[in-house]
């Protein structure tokens, strides 16, 4: 699936009609973007920043989006790019000439319940695996749609999803006191 943005880049001033049209889309779709950003980033503050940057870029491209039906897909793609950029920031911190900040170690964790365990597990996943899981199991996108959105192959989507789920099963297996009703094999 290809979006129909003609090209990236700054646009001229948006017309009043376009602003109204954009605002209508904003009201209708911002919440969905916020939810996805929250699941990707793990916290609402980072999510808010990701979404604002995404909205601004969609706004800049608004007059060149010929097919309004593709706006959601375009916005989601921008959001994923912003997420990827944001995720690289820790790498930048590590790789700046200041070198790494000292490691911080976490004490052994306690979990409130099975859902807490799963949510914290999601937070430990590498970003690509996390994005694949969110798009697959929250957004309910197909593997092909995810591959197109993330610019990766379907095989990579499958492998990333498979690894993440295997790790989730292992995590659940390690906490039998929380996971009584989970079918481990599927």
């Amino acid at each position: 699936m290809q979006h129909t943005i003609a090209r990236e880049g700054p646009t001229g001033s948006s017309s009043r009609a376009q602003d109204d049209e954009f605002e209508a889309w904003l009201v209708a779709r911002e919440r969905a973007l916020q939810r996805t950003a929250h699941l990707l980033s793990g916290d609402v503050h980072t999510a808010a920043d990701l979404v604002q940057e995404t909205l601004a870029k969609v706004y800049l491209s608004w007059d060149r989006i010929r097919d309004r039906d593709s706006v959601d897909a375009y916005a989601r793609r921008v959001l994923l790019n912003e997420y990827r950029t944001a995720w690289r920031r820790p790498v930048r911190r590590r790789e700046q000439v200041t070198d790494q900040v000292p490691d911080r170690a976490a004490p052994r964790q306690e979990y409130d319940d099975q859902h807490d365990l799963v949510w914290r597990f999601v937070g430990t996943l590498p970003p690509k695996q996390r994005a694949v899981l969110v798009l697959r199991f929250y957004e309910q996108l197909t593997e092909a749609e995810i591959a197109d959105l993330m610019g990766i192959s379907v095989g990579t989507v499958k492998s990333q999803s498979s690894r993440a789920l295997a790790a989730l099963r292992a995590t659940l297996h390690d906490h039998p006191e929380l996971t009584g009703d989970v079918e481990e094999d599927r």
Partner: protein
Amino acid sequence: MNPEDLLTEVLRERTEDTDYASTPLATVSKRAGAIRARRRRTAILAAAAAVAVVVVPGAVWLNRSPSSSPGPSQQVTTAPTQSPSAPSSKPPTVALNSLPQGPKPRVDYIDGSTFIGILGERVTLPPGTESVVRSRGGGLIVATARRSPERVFTDGTAGNLEGLAPGNGSTTNDLGCGATRFAWSVDGTLSAYWQMTGCDPTSGGKLFLGALSTMSQAGPQGWPTPAGEVYQPVGILGGAAVVVNVVTPQGVSAGVWVVDPTGRHRIPGLEAALSVSGSTGVVAGEQADGNSVVVDPSSGEVRWSAPPGWVLGSFSSDGAHIVARKAGGGVSQYAVFDAHHGGRLLDVPAIGGTEVLQTAWGSDGALMLVVDDHQSSAIVRCTLAGRLSIAAPAKPDGAVAHYRFVTTS
């Protein structure tokens, strides 16, 4: 319920239980204006730089004409402990696609998921590789970010240490948990790493130092480190002393220490070590007030201080130069300083539309830069005369930058 359904339920529950603030159109418009201005600024700078490159084809000279460019040995004599003045107010900006192709990187680096050694060896790395060090017989030790709750630091950078057999990455040997940072001696024959006891950062561990072959299970027993302290090797002084940043498991600095077979001593006045010069025996570090300094590790005596805002990085292999970074205005500025006296020798030109993710010193004495435009990354060589060239062509990024250097000191 199977794990897939459970995952869906948890994700939905997490978002349904959260209130999200709406973004007014005015906020979107304002942010869009800032993006537009940023893009214009970048485009103008890159266009101007492209013109400059046409005038001096094949080379980009920095603040000097080619005939007057200094050699690597040129040093600015500046009194110790003084902040030297800048050679210019702003470095020039060039366009990445205008740079000439140059020699390959003279440094170990990661190309996608492949380790490429300075001698041309290639090793496929496991997913999540954070850092790499050479090991026995051409194999590697890698630190991977295994994200299980028991094995992860709160900043997400620590993880498993795994041994990779020579020649490929298909055979791995789990060495346990430890800090992801390794240290090398200046001649590349010694290395150090820290391994925690039982993958529990509160239980202490062992600091290993030795010939690279010791980076395997056949190595020495290591020096025990106290419970409640996490060791981050930064560099190696002389033949048997390791400079480490020590932090508590909660991440609070416990100072910079020099550890050797006779014991350990703290370097006075330093909150964190940034890099070590094995050649000249000095340590670059950060004081409690955030200032970067170069100190004598035995006494803590400050040899010189970086100008305000500049953060020191790694020393060149001969210890004569040190790279530094200054953040500001959303773009970081890089420069090379005389490591002996602190004179600012070179402003690294900015490359339009990119940011520098990482720096490393090549064996040819040039500074290597991983530059990234948020879509792709490339490795650029910057000579001490200020000449830029492409060392590895731009390739699309994945979840992380395509290129990374593996050395940190």
